[in-house]
C-alpha cells in the first residue's frame, strides 16, 4: 500500500521540511465552516509555511469526492463521513485510501422545517413525530451527501425522536446552497445543512430551525481537511505545512470577536459564500434565531479552533461515523473500527504541526461525549455501540442506500 515511503522524522529534523509541492489546489464548499481554509489561503498563513493555496469552490460534495480521488484536488474542506465512505468503498466510487489531516470545525449545522409545516403547527419534535407516524404521504427530508455528516445528524435526530429515518420519511440529496430553493418550491419538507444556509432560510421566511446539530451532540466533529492517502505519502511536508497554516488561521479567527467579524466579512465575498453578511455573521458569533421567535446565545456555536480541541483528529470521532454507517446498513459488516481510524486519521502529522505552533494536544486519541438520546460514545466499544440503538437498519441494506 505504501508505494511512496513517508519521509522519516529524522529527515524532517535534519531540515528537509520544505514542502515537496509548494502550490496546492484546495477544494471548498460555500459554507461558513470553510472559514479557516479561506483565511489560511488569503491572509498570508500559507505563505509563512512556504505554500500557495489555490482555492477551488465546488458545487457538490459528490463532485468534490471525485476530484479528491482523481488527485485534481490536493486536499479539501470535506465532510467527515465522506472521507470514510470513500475509504471503505461505500457509494459511487471504488474504495480508495483516504486521509483526515485535521478537524476543521465542530457544530453549526441545523435541521430546518418548511413554512408549510410551520403553518400546520408542526413546530416541535413531538408534532413532527405524530405527523411522521400518520398514514398518508411520507415527509421528504434533504441532506447533502448519502454518507455525509448531515445525513448522519438528520438520521440520528429523527431516530432520537422515534422517527425511523429510512422507513418513516423519504430522504434525498440536495447541494447545500440549493436547500432554500427546494423548500420554496415545495419539493422538500425539511433539510439538514451547514450554515449559513439554515440561517438563510430563516432570514428569507422559508421556515424555521427545529434543531441545531450541536443539540444532538455538543461539539460534534463536522468538517475535516481531507485528502487522498497518496498525497500524505508523496508530500508529507506539504501536508504538514498545510495543517500548520490552517491551524494558525483557525487560531487567528478565534483570537478576538473583531477577527471573527472580519472573517464573516471575508466569507460573504463573491469568491467564497457570495451571501449577505447579515446571513453569515450572527450564527458565526453564536447569535441564533430559530424563526419561531426564539433567540439565544448558543454555547456550542461554530468552533474552528477551541485551543486545538476542534482540530485534533480523534480516532473516536472517525470511528463514530463508521458505527452510524453500520447502524443504518450502509456497511453490511463491521469494519475493524480502530484499525481503519488509525489508517485514516493522521494523528502524528497533526501533532507535529500543532507542536510547531505551540497548540496543545490531548494525550488520548479518544474523547467521551453524551449525545441527545442519553447514550454515551467514548470509542471503547464501537461494535457494541453500533448495536445499542432501538431504531436501526442493520439487517437491511438496499433501502438505506438512498441516493447512492
Amino acid at each position: 500500500m505504501n508505494t511512496f515511503p513517508r519521509a522519516t522524522p529524522l529527515a524532517w529534523v535534519n531540515g528537509s521540511d520544505a514542502p515537496e509541492k509548494p502550490s496546492l489546489d484546495i477544494g471548498f464548499m460555500a459554507l461558513t465552516d470553510c472559514a479557516s481554509v479561506v483565511v489560511a489561503a488569503t491572509q498570508g498563513f500559507a505563505q509563512q509555511q512556504g505554500l500557495t493555496l489555490n482555492l477551488k469552490r465546488q458545487a457538490s460534495w459528490a463532485g468534490m469526492r471525485d476530484k479528491l480521488v482523481s488527485g485534481e484536488l490536493d486536499a479539501a474542506h470535506c465532510l467527515y463521513g465522506l472521507i470514510y465512505a470513500v475509504h471503505l468503498g461505500i457509494g459511487g466510487v471504488a474504495a480508495s485510501d483516504m486521509a483526515v489531516l485535521m478537524g476543521l470545525n465542530q457544530n453549526a449545522q441545523a435541521i430546518n422545517l418548511s413554512p408549510a409545516l410551520q403553518r400546520k403547527g408542526v413546530t416541535s419534535p413531538e408534532a413532527l413525530a405524530r405527523l411522521a407516524h400518520q398514514n398518508g404521504s411520507r415527509l421528504t427530508f434533504a441532506q447533502t451527501f448519502p454518507t455525509g455528516t448531515h445525513a448522519m445528524w438528520l438520521y440520528y435526530w429523527l431516530a432520537s425522536q422515534g422517527i425511523h429515518p429510512l422507513r418513516d420519511v423519504h430522504s434525498v440529496v440536495v447541494p447545500p446552497a440549493q436547500m432554500v430553493a427546494h423548500v420554496q418550491a415545495g419539493r422538500i419538507d425539511g433539510f439538514c445543512v451547514g450554515e449559513p444556509w439554515s440561517a438563510d432560510a430563516v432570514a428569507q421566511g422559508q421556515g424555521f430551525t427545529l434543531a441545531t446539530s450541536q443539540s444532538i451532540w455538543p461539539d460534534h466533529p463536522e468538517k475535516v481537511l481531507g485528502c487522498a492517502r497518496a498525497f500524505v505519502e508523496q508530500c508529507p511536508n506539504s501536508a504538514r505545512a498545510l495543517i500548520t497554516a490552517i491551524l494558525a488561521a483557525s487560531r487567528f479567527i478565534e483570537q478576538s470577536p473583531e477577527n471573527r467579524r472580519s472573517t464573516a466579512q471575508l466569507l460573504s465575498g463573491t469568491a467564497y459564500l457570495d451571501t449577505p453578511l447579515e446571513t453569515i455573521e450572527p450564527r458565526l458569533l453564536g447569535d441564533y434565531q430559530d424563526g419561531l421567535g426564539n433567540r439565544w446565545q448558543d454555547r456550542h456555536a461554530l468552533r474552528l479552533f477551541d485551543q486545538g480541541r476542534a482540530n485534533l483528529p480523534y480516532l473516536s470521532d472517525g470511528m463514530w461515523f463508521m458505527t452510524q454507517f453500520r447502524r443504518w446498513g450502509l456497511l453490511r459488516e463491521d469494519p475493524d473500527y480502530l484499525d481503519v481510524a488509525r489508517q485514516v486519521q493522521q494523528l502524528a502529522l497533526y501533532r507535529e504541526a500543532a507542536a510547531a505552533l505551540g497548540v496543545p494536544c490531548a494525550e488520548l486519541p479518544m474523547r467521551s461525549s453524551l449525545l441527545i438520546d442519553g447514550i454515551r460514545w467514548d470509542g471503547s466499544d464501537p461494535h457494541g455501540y453500533a448495536r445499542s440503538f432501538r431504531l436501526h437498519a442493520m439487517a437491511e441494506t438496499p433501502s438505506a442506500r438512498v441516493g447512492l
Binding site: 502550490s23 488569503t42 505563505q47 473583531e258 466579512q265 467564497y272
Partner: protein, 191 residues
C-alpha cells in the same frame, strides 16, 4: 487520435515523416518550412505535439522553438540528421522535448511521441512549481516590508501589525498581499 503539426524543414521536402505518421494512425497537419510564424500556427492548429523535421537545426529553428516554449508551450519533437552534441544541447535548452537522429520507422513513432509528451508534462509541472515558489517568496517580502512600515507608523509590534493588515484585508474581501501593496504604495506617495 493525436493531432500532430508537422513542420517539414528539409531541403528537398521529401516528406519522409508524413507517410510514417499517417501509417501509424496520427492526424497530421502540415506546415511548410520555418518561414511561417510557428507560435501563431500552434495557436490556430492546437496540436498535441509539434514535430519538426530538419536536416540540421539552425538558428531559425531554435528561435521558433524558443518562442513556442515561451508563448504556447507544447511538446516539440525534433527529427534531424545532425549528430553534433553541441547542437543537441542547444535544442534541448531551447525547449525541445525529444531530439531524434535519423531512423524513422512508423512502429517507433508512438513510443517516441509518448516519451516526448510525458517529458513535456513533467517539465511544465516543474516550471509551474518553481514559478509558485518565486511568487511566494516575492509576496512574502512585500508583506514583510508593509508590516515593517506599519509597525513604524502605528508604533506597534509585529503581531499587532499583522492583525491590523489582516483585518483590513478581510473586511475588504481582499488578500493580505493586496493590503500590503496598498500600504507600500501609500508610503511611497507620502514618503
Amino acid at each position: 487520435m493525436l493531432r500532430i503539426l508537422l513542420i517539414d524543414d528539409t531541403e528537398k521536402k521529401v516528406g519522409r515523416l508524413k507517410a510514417a505518421l499517417v501509417e501509424a494512425g496520427f492526424e497530421v497537419i502540415e506546415a511548410g518550412g520555418l518561414t511561417i510564424d510557428l507560435p501563431a500556427c500552434v495557436e490556430t492548429v492546437r496540436p498535441d505535439v509539434v514535430l519538426i523535421d530538419t536536416e540540421s537545426p539552425g538558428r531559425d529553428v531554435m528561435e521558433q522553438v524558443v518562442l513556442v516554449s515561451r508563448d504556447r508551450p507544447r511538446p516539440i519533437v525534433l527529427f534531424t540528421d545532425e549528430h553534433d552534441p553541441q547542437v543537441m544541447r542547444q535544442a534541448i535548452q531551447a525547449g525541445v522535448s525529444a531530439y531524434i537522429v535519423e531512423g524513422i520507422h512508423s512502429a517507433r513513432l508512438q513510443p517516441i511521441l509518448d516519451v516526448a509528451m510525458a517529458r513535456f508534462e513533467s517539465d511544465q509541472a516543474l516550471k509551474a512549481q518553481l514559478l509558485a515558489r518565486d511568487q511566494q517568496l516575492a509576496e512574502r517580502k512585500r508583506i514583510e516590508q508593509a508590516k515593517g512600515l506599519l509597525m513604524k507608523m502605528k508604533d506597534c509590534n509585529e503581531e499587532q501589525a499583522f492583525t491590523l493588515m489582516r483585518r483590513q484585508a478581510m473586511s475588504k474581501q481582499q488578500k493580505l498581499i493586496q493590503v500590503a501593496e496598498q500600504i507600500i504604495a501609500m508610503h511611497e506617495m507620502l514618503g
